[in-house]
Symmetry: C2
Subunit: 178 residues, 2 copies
């Protein structure tokens, strides 16, 4: 699939068929996540792959927007490992880029996925840390729920020119040649 | 370009030719950034496009890792607009996903780009806010510097199995069927 098709046809998919995600597909997803850029190339991430039905069924009770996890074949929790950071505080961005790569790879594989946010909501962080036995220095950032999509998504655009500024916010750079 | 080629051949490119980035390419980059997912679909981002040579030349003095900006045709500062947030504190992840989309689109267009971090380093945030006349509620997250690459990058992998955990961090989920 073309990169621009993947970017623009990625959608939040919350309904899946019963078909599992293959081990080779899972490896491709994680490989894509791990090639994301990170501050100082620290790669301060860890991934908890959840395919245990009992664990997946517990998720809706600890995340208000993750009801689909109980009916999904797979969840991946992207965690920041603070022990691996080189530049303090950048792990959130690094792990967000890894999450986005994972979603785009899922789109490229014909899978459907949705990003549900954990950090910085304190009670969700605590609940996922407990569910997954995370060590103290590993902070769950996001839960990606995925499977084979039971719905189809078209490519689209949300370009909004009003969000683009030229040289300075007010477009009146002292020296701008515009 | 295939999505997986784009994901794996994206590299931090810091040397560019003199050729400018075309207006149509710039629109494609921003279109890709704006289709990123965001918490509550708030799209809490703004983009300051910098092509003024005087502004670009000022950047190395305010960012220790952005020397290449002085020799680049284009910079794009991705900002979080806190007034547009729906769920407090998620703007960092949202704008990081937009930044990553922008980098992947640059790869797909044959451009070279590099993500340099601004937030959460306080003096960088203050300096870019001043340089770009940002309003108080707009926080610069990242500066993407880009142009036509003066170097070539091969696709690669950084897959590390030791960063993958199964069902729980220690792989001993009470009920895991593994």
């Amino acid at each position: 699939m073309d990169i621009f098709t993947a970017l623009h046809s990625r959608r939040s998919i919350r309904k899946y068929t019963e078909e599992p995600v293959a081990a080779e597909e899972l490896r491709i997803l994680l490989d894509a996540a791990m090639i994301a850029p990170s501050a100082g190339n620290a790669q301060p991430w860890r991934f908890v792959v959840i395919d245990d039905k009992t664990l997946l069924a517990r998720i809706p009770a600890i995340h208000p927007y993750a009801g689909m996890a109980a009916r999904a074949p797979l969840g991946i929790v992207v965690c920041g490992d603070l022990r691996r950071e080189k530049y303090h505080g950048f792990w959130v961005q690094d792990c967000a880029a890894a999450t986005q790569n994972l979603l785009l790879a899922a789109t490229g594989l014909g899978l459907g996925a949705v990003w549900t946010g954990i950090y910085p909501v304190e009670d969700r962080v605590a609940a996922f840390s407990g569910l997954l036995n995370l060590p103290e220095q590993c902070v769950p950032l996001s839960l990606v729920v995925l499977g084979r999509p039971a719905m189809h998504a078209e490519a689209r655009s949300r370009f909004d020119e009003s969000l683009v500024h030229h040289n300075t916010f007010d477009g009146r750079a002292e020296n701008a040649q515009v």
